[in-house]
Symmetry: C2
Subunit: 212 residues, 2 copies
DNA sequence: AAGTGTGAAAAGTTTCACAGCG
DNA sequence: CGCTGTGAAACTTTTCACACTT
């Protein structure tokens, strides 16, 4: 069997891709601490995984280490950055500037990690503008034009659950390929679109199972 | 081998427990639609999984279906609720009422799912109180007393990343058993404590890998 | 000596397929 | 007949252990 899937990407396990982001963060930290080489044992400890897993994860997309020495921090960081598709700044839109949506906009956590949220959309842009948001809040009717014109590929979805499916249909039709979904609903999309669900109540519920 | 782990819990795969929460939501919806029986095929479709997986998941903790008919919606919902430890209202505290923390408090998404956030803690309670939060915002110094007095087991952690580890140490020492962590850091805790990480930037980064 | 890269084993999870019950 | 419950098969992911390189 060959090592790429139908989309031409290297066949890296999904979970390994999540870990790549964690490794990248750890590398940035190490780099700012002036280190230029790191062993799998050290990096793995920082990332909370086992050394063998780290080595296997990195091996999915190449050989970057020096035996007896470790990995070059700088190079490895660039490689991961490129693998994740972060070499270019990705514009992101946010749809649904209600309670949670506007909270996320004020939070600026995405900007800190190098994503630019270039516009928000809401059924009532007037009301949302009042909430101390400093990017344009546009009416939902403008979604399609905006996405096409700016070639936006990523969207954060914070609309009420009953609108989530119909909005995501419009996003996908307009060209969105990745959706970060905060609604507690299983969205139906074509296989070429990736949906990541962040379900805050579900995470708390999951914790509730583990406390005695 | 027997079917319980060292803590005496049924040995249900972690991923199955997440799905339990999803099933529970779907059941509530079905119930409000007046249905009182549901087949694995129907419930599975609503939950976005395969019928066999749903049946296997439910079988981990008992036999609730009637062959030829399906599952009783009401009973199944109660069973899942109990399995998840949701029969009692769990008090939750939130630590770090800054940008994201105060946003989550105003969002009220946890309350909607039946969790009560009974207090928030912040290094500067004064500043946080101004942000339109309607639960007590207490100084971080009060953490230990409050947790002990109210027997709080769950905490939402939204402090800046550099304080996360030391705060979680204090939480755990005071009796917290489950932490919903929003800081981009791998927290070190004893095995009897469960940490769920919600890393918003990481989720976006993961999406970024899948767009072409 | 130190530490990577990697086949092979182990563990975990999902899917299949069908026996068996209502 | 319809649909659950479940062993067994298939698949995925993690861990091990060690040959190999600097």
């Amino acid at each position: 069997m060959d090592s790429t899937d139908k989309s031409g990407k290297l066949d890296i396990p999904k979970k390994a891709i999540y870990r790549l982001s964690i490794y990248y963060r750890c590398l940035q930290k190490l780099n700012s601490n002036g280190l230029d080489t790191v062993s799998s044992t050290t990096l793995a400890r920082a990332a909370g995984v086992k050394p063998a897993q780290l080595r296997k994860d990195l091996a999915y997309f190449g050989q970057f280490g020096t035996r007896g020495l470790g990995y070059p921090v700088d190079l490895l960081a660039s490689i991961i950055r490129e693998t994740l598709g972060r070499e270019r700044l990705q514009p992101v839109i946010l749809v649904g500037a209600g309670n949670l949506g506007s909270a996320l906009l004020r939070y600026h956590g995405f900007e800190k990690e190098g994503f630019e949220v270039i516009a928000a959309f809401d059924a009532d842009p007037q009301a949302s503008r009042a909430r101390g948001i400093n990017i344009p809040v546009l009416p939902v009717a403008d979604l399609e034009n905006f996405i096409t014109e700016k070639s936006v590929k990523l969207a954060i979805l914070c609309v009420p659950v009953e609108f989530a499916q119909s909005i995501v249909n419009r996003l996908v039709a307009a060209g969105i390929q990745g959706v970060l979904n905060f609604s507690p609903i299983v969205l139906e999309v074509t296989p070429d679109v990736t949906v990541n669900n962040v379900d805050l109540a579900l995470e708390l519920e999951h914790l509730s199972y583990f406390i005695r």
